[in-house]
């Protein structure tokens, strides 16, 4: 005999996925609200931000899970041995106290404490596509504000053409830095107009919480139309310069990693094609878009340039 039973759970009782996946953030946000109501946002890995603004620059694509975003990383300071290593090792990095020196061709050079940076501008949630030069991609809900806000604080001089980003290189806590495979500290760079572009983000968090260490805590660069390695992590120094900075991967393998590193399906990496990418969580590869889908906003920055030469 067939006995029909109603399902144990009504659909309305199931926690929606986006709430479920952000439960830590919500619990912490509630706790933080109760304990520190009125205090400005502080942040250590995992701590929640409150009152985030939603950015109109966000993609509507579904973000990857926090588990994937914080478990599948390249962060060579914590080792070259594959994706789980940064997540396993980055806990040793101390992100407080943290000072960022902003200097070079500027009128008002300044050392910012991370707490001051967090107060410079309202924090936004920006959901960006992220494309790694290795051929995989994610969608990541970053928290941060435009880099331009910080740069304008120090008043760049007219001669400043480039911005250099220097990451922490602490051999005590970073095993990768003890290896001679790259020139440490990890250094990246942008043209000043790229750095001032509204899409260029100084990220301090993701999924509404402070950045996990392995994602570049306490602050990192996010340039969504470039390959991920352009986004320096755990930045300690930002320098405005007249000449193009020497950047780490470009120094190590100039034929494989250009200074510009704009996402470009038409320019192959010498060892693999960049025409397609695997979105983490998907089975079939998808086509890679010029400038990672941000061509409408950024293509004019490169008008007249031969992007095969300046790859």
């Amino acid at each position: 005999m067939l006995i029909r039973r109603p399902p144990d759970l009504a659909a309305s009782e199931i926690t929606p996925r986006h709430v479920f996946e952000r439960r830590r953030a919500l619990i912490k946000a509630a706790g933080a609200l109760a304990l520190t109501a009125g205090l400005p946002a502080t942040s250590r890995a995992g701590e929640a931000f409150s009152g985030l603004q939603q950015s109109p620059l966000s993609t509507t694509e579904a973000p990857n899970s926090l588990r994937d975003i914080s478990g599948y990383n390249n962060f060579v300071e914590f080792g070259f041995g594959g994706k789980p290593q940064p997540a396993e090792r980055a806990g040793a990095m101390k992100t407080r106290p943290w000072t960022v020196h902003v200097e070079g061709l500027v009128n008002r050079p300044r050392a910012f404490a991370i707490e001051d940076i967090l107060r410079l501008a309202p924090l936004e949630e920006r959901i960006y596509r992220f494309r790694c030069v290795e051929g995989w991609s994610m969608v990541i809900p970053w928290v941060g504000f435009p880099l331009g806000v910080l740069l304008r604080q120090v008043e760049p001089q007219g001669s400043a053409k480039y911005v250099e980003f220097v990451s922490l290189a602490d051999p005590e806590t970073m095993p990768g830095v003890r290896q001679p495979f790259l020139d440490w500290p990890y250094t990246e760079g942008l043209r000043l107009d790229e750095a001032l572009h509204p899409l260029t983000l100084l990220a301090v968090g993701l999924y509404g919480e402070a950045l996990p260490n392995q994602n570049g805590a306490p602050l990192r660069l996010v340039v969504p139309w470039k390959y991920g390695f352009k986004g320096g992590k755990s930045i300690v120094r930002i320098r405005l310069t007249e000449r193009q900075p020497r950047t780490t991967w470009n120094l190590a393998q100039p034929e494989e990693y250009g200074f510009y590193a704009n996402v470009n399906p038409a320019v192959s990496h010498p060892r693999w094609s960049q025409e397609k990418e695997r979105r983490i969580g998907e089975f079939r590869k998808r086509a890679t878009l010029p400038f990672n889908g941000y061509a409408g906003q950024v293509a004019q920055l490169y008008a007249g340039m031969d992007l095969r030469k300046f790859f």
Partner: protein, 207 residues
């Protein structure tokens, strides 16, 4: 070693050789393949193809050093497992990674040295796998069979190059494979030159 013992050893080895595959199945079952399971599967299978290739090449020197001649009876199985994992590695690339995009695969093979090398190593393994059984050995004749199967030395070198060119900057692991392979091939070269000398000296003595 009695035939019964040898059969038991072979059965145990067979099960052992399936462990890397079982590990994948287990990790797949327990959601342990990480954020990019296709990359994980592909690398795992490739690494084990290389491990079995080196294990196959280790049989002869081990037998010579230990005097355990029954080790030779395990060599074919190890070689076939090297082919088995190389085949799965190749299928993972063609199916999971490229999803039968033959145009892209052809471009990869033509233009990317590390893929060219990997593909060459795989193709060169095919005749060895096809002629691994006793019938083919008999049909080819021992000498021709041996000459054909010496290509495993070149295959191993190409396979290590395939791995080397894939790696980003940290060459420690491919270097370890290269050193192991160098040692395995070096032992053979050493023995060969000693053999030559002995033959030469016995020849001159006999005159």
């Amino acid at each position: 070693m009695t035939p019964a013992r040898l059969a038991a050893v072979k059965a145990a080895l067979f099960i052992l050789c399936l462990m890397p595959l079982a590990q994948l199945a287990w990790l797949g079952w327990t959601d342990g393949l990480g954020a990019n399971p296709i990359e994980f599967i592909s690398r795992h299978l490739g690494a084990w193809a290389l491990n079995f290739l080196l294990a196959t090449l280790a049989v002869t020197p081990l037998r010579q050093l230990s005097g355990w001649h029954w080790l030779m009876r395990l060599r074919r199985m190890l070689g076939l497992f090297a082919f088995f994992y190389a085949l799965l590695h190749f299928l993972a690339y063609v199916w999971l990674d490229q999803f039968f995009d033959w145009a892209a695969i052809a471009r990869d093979i033509a233009k990317r040295p590390f893929i060219t090398a990997g593909f060459a190593a795989f193709v060169l393994l095919l005749p060895l796998a096809a002629t691994s059984n006793a019938t083919m050995l008999r049909r080819l004749g021992g000498r021709r069979w041996q000459r054909l199967h010496r290509s495993i030395y070149a295959i191993a070198v190409i396979a290590v190059a395939h791995y080397w060119w894939l790696v980003k900057k940290d060459f420690r692991l491919p270097l370890l494979y290269a050193i192991l392979l160098g040692a395995l091939l070096g032992l053979r070269a050493l023995r060969l030159s000693r053999e030559r000398q002995r033959q030469l000296s016995s020849y001159s003595r006999s005159r």
